[in-house]
């Protein structure tokens, strides 16, 4: 007996803890969460983590960006292309505040991120210490969750929670602020345990059969049904389930710009883009359909136009994982709460196999009109300067819809979304909800790290490129291969378009000068070219795509071209203008 007890005592510490620092625990957590890429920038308050990273550089690839905003946009691009959680490191104070734009962007576009910021020593909190800012309170409105760690013991649990929250349910950005003392602190580490539930948090609402049945009943009785879908389909990895639903139901479908690429461009039921610069048919038909089936989208004002004249004739079925989205902007006749990966198959089972040839013919008629009035001139201009649309057309011909297109914000973004062709999902990466200029260059870098086997083309305006042009340095240092396509109209084009249409052509501060981009790129060791002539366009794009390594191509496009169709602000979707 005595002997056994003795053995017991000796054996107990087998499940022993080891002493490691908070910084090591953090990196162990990242490895346990299968993180392989971090976008970051060091600084005083995060130095212990960077010191630990020195020993982990074989397991964790750290991409040194040129600005923390670039870092977080890169992580967003990485997350959007790969479906994994993007990870960012930044120091306290300015490092952390530089993340705010990216956090807001990721919050509104539901992008899963875990951002780690350094913070001053816990005993200095609230003393206006060097590089101290109240990061938790600054970032509260733009994070799904945030937390400050002042004791290293918390690190494994909090990180597990951070990854679980960032990726589950409706994804979003999480920020963890770690004081320097916690990074340095040695503690008894008992290993990492991933998190699979939090009692106060319900990532997926329970699916109620009666609402699926009610939705199916409406869909089966519909004569003019219309499906509109958003990023929820992509975030839920539900592209196949969505396609199966669509093909059985025979219902025409249109996408929001974040839903783009969830359904291949050439799918016979793909009717095009919704919203302010969307296609003619989808906008007009929104106000003619009898049942509107919204899947994983949130009725943004850029999609709905004037809300009190939006789809008033229709019964609305709204599928969303986030209960607060249902009835938020558009009242749902039937709200189907749940993950569309689960709800769509249930719905597909209950709906009848149908076709709507006459109804779809109406879409086609609008499409023909749009082709005639807008698209053919945009894609095949016979004279004048190169149009943005034709650049996209030629790009499509060369990439055959296989590239990831990362667009910035403005006219070129609308053109890219309207005309880029996609065969596979997670191919369109753009800043949707927040409209963050400067997003595309860093996001493209991140997208390439997230999907190294794919061609990544960043389509950027002459305004947006100048907002984050410093990230060319990241390309220089990492040797990554992305194609930068600048559509230069020598204006802040979208604002200029509005000034032309709604402000009597008073062009107030939209005339923006550009540096010689090719020379700038050269300085960063990136080859490049400028095209002004239509007959050189295809060769120049071909050269860009076949070039080994990154390449910058500037295309000089029509200065005062406008993006049409357009639903003017404050107008109903059926008041969409073709010119």
């Amino acid at each position: 007996m005595i002997m056994e007890t003795a053995i017991d005592i000796i054996e107990k510490p087998v499940k022993a803890t080891i002493q490691i620092t908070g910084s090591q625990a953090l990196l162990e957590a990242l490895i346990a969460e299968q993180v392989d890429t971090i976008f970051g920038y060091p600084g005083g308050a995060i130095m212990p983590i960077y010191d630990a990273l020195y020993d982990y550089h074989e397991q964790l690839k750290h991409i040194l960006v040129r600005h923390e905003q670039g870092g977080i946009h890169a992580a967003q691009g990485f997350a959007r292309a790969s479906g994994k959680v993007g990870v960012v490191f930044a120091t306290s104070g300015p490092g952390a505040t530089n993340l705010v734009t990216g956090l807001a962007d990721a919050q509104i576009d539901s992008t899963p991120l875990v951002c780690i910021t350094g913070q001053v020593f816990a005993h200095l909190l609230g003393t206006d210490a060097f590089q101290e800012t109240d990061v938790i309170n600054i970032t509260t409105p733009v994070t799904k969750w945030n937390y400050q760690i002042t004791d290293a013991c918390e690190i494994p649990e909090v990180l597990a929670k951070a990854f679980y929250i960032a990726r589950s349910g409706r994804p979003g950005p999480v920020l963890i602020d770690i004081t320097k003392n916690a990074q340095l602190q040695l503690f008894e580490y008992a290993g990492y345990q991933s998190c699979d539930h939090i009692r106060s948090y319900r990532p997926k609402p329970y699916i109620r059969k009666e609402f699926i049945e009610a939705a199916a009943e409406l869909i089966n009785a519909a004569e003019k049904p219309f499906v509109i879908f958003g990023q929820g389909v992509i975030l839920g990895n539900a592209e196949q389930e969505f396609k199966a639903f669509l093909e059985k139901s025979g219902i025409p479908a249109a996408w929001t710009i974040l839903g783009l690429s969830a359904l291949p461009t050439d799918h016979p039921l793909n009717m095009g883009m919704l919203g302010m610069h969307g296609n003619y048919g989808p906008n007009v038909m929104t106000n003619e359909c009898d049942v509107l089936i919204a899947i994983g989208m949130r009725f943004d004002d850029r999609v709905t136009g004037r809300l009190d004249k939006y789809a008033k004739q229709a019964k609305v079925v709204h599928l969303d994982i986030d209960p607060s989205e249902i009835d938020k902007n558009v009242k749902a006749t039937v709200g189907v709460w749940g993950d569309c990966k689960e709800t769509l198959p249930l719905l597909t089972r209950l709906i009848q196999t149908k076709v709507y040839p006459q109804w779809i013919e109406k879409f086609r008629a609008y499409q023909k009109e749009e082709e005639k009035e807008v698209i053919s001139n945009e894609l095949y201009p016979s004279e004048g300067q190169i149009s943005m649309g034709e650049v996209l057309r030629v790009l499509n011909e060369l990439t055959e819809g296989e590239a990831i297109v990362v667009s910035d914000v403005g006219q070129h973004q609308m053109v890219a979304c309207r005309y880029a062709k996609f065969n596979q999902t997670r191919s369109n990466i753009t800043s949707g909800g927040l409209g963050t200029m400067g997003f595309a260059l860093p996001a493209a870098i991140g997208a390439k790290f997230g999907a190294p086997e794919r061609t990544v083309v960043a389509v950027i305006g002459d305004g947006g490129i100048q907002m984050t042009i410093q990230e060319l340095g990241t390309i220089l240092q990492t040797g990554i291969d992305i194609k930068i396509l600048i559509l230069n109209n020598q204006f802040l084009g979208m604002v200029r378009q509005w000034q032309q249409l709604f402000h009597d052509k008073r062009y107030s501060f939209v005339d923006i000068a550009s540096p010689d981009y090719v020379t700038v790129a050269k300085g960063y060791g990136i080859s490049g070219d400028t095209v002004k002539e239509r007959n050189h366009l295809k060769d120049a794009l071909q050269k860009m795509l076949s070039h080994q390594g990154s390449y910058l191509l500037e295309v000089m496009v029509g200065k005062e071209n406008n993006v049409f169709p357009m639903v003017p602000q404050g107008c109903s979707v059926s008041e969409i203008r073709l010119k």
Partner: protein, 196 residues
Amino acid sequence: MQKQEFTITVYTENHIGLLNRIAIIFSRRKINIESLNTSPSEVEGIHRFTIVIDELEEVVRKLVRQIEKQVEVLKAYYNTNDEIVWQELALYKVSTDEIAEKVKVERLLREYGARAVVIRKDYTIFETSGHREETNRLIGVLEPYGLIEFVRSARVAIIKASSGFHEKIKEFEATDPSDDLIENEYLGKQQEVFSM
């Protein structure tokens, strides 16, 4: 539809920063919080916010969903005044001399259910609880006798129809498309839940 008073009851984890996370849901929409109280709830380890605002029901419904969306919020409800029993506590500081001299005041205080919590030579503090109108009325009464200081607490409210948090959840979920008590599963199991 008209704006009216709603009492929002929020069950939450007791974590630093959560007050801000909830408060900004209101301030972002430029909605004034009339009264806010935080306290423990009947469930150990779970905190309870009682928030009073003046708004349209439509707006309140959306607000409550935004609140409930927060990771550390277990559940949020909203109720009109006839669905709850509520009280506010008020303290009144008056000159002891004045009170002592005027018997009428003493009678008044009795009428309003006030009681003295401190009696000193220089001042006396009375306490009463009730609805806002009641505590307000006593101010009016005391003012002529030199009311030195007045303070009123936030509203605390109990939902008439609730049979405690556990029961209320069941009732809610019978009408809302949501999980059958999944979040309740861990409620009584402090040790087994993931907490920090």
